[in-house]
């Protein structure tokens, strides 16, 4: 099972990371590595596009929380793009909708 991670730098100052596939305890470490790599290469305003994600569990949530913390400690921010009910539900149940800015399209996130 491969996790798709595509970086799009065409909306400066935002870096858009499109995630595709299932984010669980097996694949989440790759997402974490990618976030660390982007921040260490200077990305400060990160938009994570979850529209291609079919499944996200608490391990994935943990990586996103860790990413937000990392960005904030670099005076940056991390926002999410998600309009799928089944993925949004995981954020709602855990109260993390109050922690993340969640947009329903990349366009909305990069014009915020």
């Amino acid at each position: 099972m491969e996790l798709g991670l595509e970086v799009d730098e065409s909306h400066p100052p935002f870096t858009v990371l499109a995630v595709k596939g299932e984010v669980d305890v097996y694949t989440a470490p790759r997402l974490r590595e990618k976030l660390v790599e982007l921040v260490s290469h200077g990305s400060q305003h990160l938009v994570i596009d979850l529209e291609g994600v079919d499944f996200l569990d608490s391990t994935g949530l943990g990586v996103l929380v860790g990413g937000l913390k990392r960005l904030r400690s670099h005076d940056g921010d991390l926002s999410l793009v998600c309009s799928q009910h089944r993925i949004l539900k995981v954020f709602e149940i855990t109260g993390l909708t109050k922690v993340f800015s969640i947009y329903d399209s990349v366009e909305a996130a990069v014009t915020s």
Binding site: M1, E22, D24, V25, Y26, F55, D57, S58, T59, L61, G62, V63, V65, G66, L68, K69, R72, H85, R86, V90, I93, T94, G95, L96, K98, V99
Partner: protein, 165 residues
């Protein structure tokens, strides 16, 4: 195994090596069984899939912490009124009623906690969740109420043991 009085049939038994790459298989097989055998909306199947994933993640971490090579066992039972998934590990056990709470999400300190969401999620996602834990291991029972599907596949129990490479 469960405390219910209703008679339950074993419909599926899976054993997987305690490694993260095998959880996707369990999600697939268990959700396919629920979809085929129960009259449940798709959204409830998604909820079960997530709960199963969380329970398997915890089981695999428990085996890692206990350094055991044993497989994790997943069994699926059903009765006229419910569908039950049991995830059993041979880790060191824990007290399900003594889990540390997170700071509220409005507290900046919340960002220091990347873990510990699995069991609260499980409790929210299924109709009933039971945690039986001892120093010899833990079994997590995930229960969804509801009727069997009208056209159920043949009910020969399926047993699968997945071996790692």
């Amino acid at each position: 195994m469960s405390g219910a009085t209703e008679s339950m049939d074993l419909v599926l038994e899976l054993e997987i090596p305690a490694r993260p790459e095998f959880i996707a298989v369990v999600r697939l097989v268990v959700s396919a069984a629920a979809l085929a055998r129960r009259n449940l909306p798709e959204q409830r199947i998604d909820d079960l899939k997530l709960a199963v994933s969380e329970a398997c993640t915890n089981a695999i971490e428990a085996h890692g912490a206990a350094a055991t090579e044993d497989h994790v066992r997943i069994r699926v039972y059903e009765g006229p009124e419910r569908f039950e998934v049991c995830v059993e590990d041979r880790g060191a056990g824990f007290d399900p009623d003594a889990l540390p709470a997170h700071p509220p999400v409005t507290d900046p300190e919340r960002l220091n906690f990347e873990r510990g969401l699995g069991i609260p999620l499980i409790r929210t996602l299924v109709d009933d969740a039971e945690f039986w834990s001892s120093p010899q291991g833990t079994s997590v029972h995930l229960i969804l109420y509801g009727e069997p599907a009208e056209d159920i596949p043949p009910d020969d129990a399926v047993g699968l043991r997945v071996e790692g490479t």
